[in-house]
């Protein structure tokens, strides 16, 4: 018991550092992929064929292959194939590579959700806007956007919760996120070795975080309850 109490602050400190990295990757991925997903969705819905085919193929490839492979390729390819150590060698470089892989991957998944949300809006909404003399962009931003958001909040919430757990994949390129931090105490770190309980603590971090997110997203869904579609 005494040693546990001695080890606790060391482990928590280490997990906190790892969790900060997890949190950073989570926030940056969301900030990047939420808008990028919308652009990809509009690209895949445009009547201009080359753009449509290009975006649809990219989405197909990204969704059809594991995020883990994308992560490894994005991180290692510049150095190994082009001898260009684009990402550098530090933790910052690994973070950047992870962020790029995650943003693209999630943007592609989100784009499909956005597309479904937009296509589910009755064509009468468009036509009502058109006969009222609105421009295409006015119809999108003033009429359809909020209706789309209302439709997609539940599926996007699912993606967001999945993302929290997916950030652990960044460990593949040695990003020192929270599981990496917890795992270190199995092998030995800070004079602690063979300890499994730090991983339970790491799980607890996830549980609390996803719990908080679930509550917040539920609030957002409630907020959009003022109208029905």
């Amino acid at each position: 018991m005494e040693t546990f109490l001695e080890q606790l602050p060391i482990v928590v400190g280490s997990l906190n550092v790892g969790f900060l990295q997890t949190l950073k990757l989570f926030v940056v991925t969301l900030l990047g992929s939420l808008p990028l997903g919308l652009i990809i969705a509009l690209g895949s819905m445009t009547k201009f064929k080359p753009i449509q085919i290009l975006t649809k193929s990219v989405v197909w490839v990204i969704r059809g292959t594991p995020l883990m492979i994308q992560l490894l390729i994005i991180y290692y390819m510049p150095g190994l194939a082009f001898n260009n150590h684009f990402w550098g060698s530090g933790e910052d470089g690994r973070f950047l590579a992870a962020a790029v892989a995650f943003i693209f991957n999630y943007a592609c998944y989100l784009s499909e959700i956005y597309r479904g949300g937009l296509q589910g809006i009755p064509v009468g909404q468009d036509e009502a806007g058109v006969v009222l003399g609105m421009t295409k962009s006015q119809i999108f931003f003033k009429v359809k956007l909020l209706q789309m958001i209302k439709r997609i909040v539940p599926p996007v919430s699912n993606e967001i919760i999945t993302l929290v757990k997916d950030t652990a994949l960044a460990r593949m390129i040695a990003l020192q996120e929270i599981i990496w931090a917890g795992e270190a105490f199995l092998k030995g770190s800070h004079g602690i070795a063979g300890a499994i309980w730090p991983l339970f603590f790491a799980a607890l971090y996830y549980l609390v975080f996803t719990g908080v997110l679930t509550v917040l997203l539920g609030k957002l869904e409630k907020k959009l309850d003022f109208f029905k579609i």
Partner: protein
Amino acid sequence: MLRVENVEKYFGRTKVLEDISFELKQGEVLAIIGSSGSGKTTLLRCINLLEQPTKGKIYIYDELLLDAELPKAKFDKDIRKKHLHFGLVFQNFNLFPQYTAKKNVMLAVELLAKERPDYKANKDKILKEIEEEAEQLLIKMNLQDRIDHYPHQLSGGQQQRVAIARALALHPDILCFDEPTSALDPELTGEVLKVIRDLADENMTMIIVTHEMSFARDVADRIIFMDEGRIIEEGPAKKLINNPQTDRLKDFLTRVEV
């Protein structure tokens, strides 16, 4: 003020409208009747530039509004201005669900006002006028106690009256209705028909596609009867209903109750 000349419309290989020509005078109320699938909605959508006819021309105030020979109307740079000649009230209302009744009425007017050169200087005054007019229109539609309600909080009849106010807010030259009461419970049709009747009394120029024969007879000045994409009979409303000339119209009138 409106002249439709030889309009024809194909959907793929199906001919839906054939050689449609008619004129509409200022202040006139025209009803279009006919059985399901006869092309009434398609005709209204062509006039409202939502559908491109395969042949024909449409003029408003002697200005060429649409010529099927020319590139599609939706690529026309003046298309938005052309849309503003018309108001269209849909069968299923198509209100914007995230806005209150008042905001539904104001939205397009506000967006249009932003393009006025004096908008920046007089913003507050302009917005206030728009809001006041929206309220006046809703009061006129008998919705004074529903101004701040959202569409889902309104009955079908109330929603349709908001939709009429929304169309009127842009001061269209011609107000078009596509079966404005077909989606309503019978006890709610009366309140909508009443406001249309009031508009007719104010000499609003209107085209009304309807299945309500007695309403068409009493409110319209003229009626067009369509069948299989063609105008079969056309004439003064009472005469056409009370004294049909063609077998097809006689047949149609015995099938629907007048």
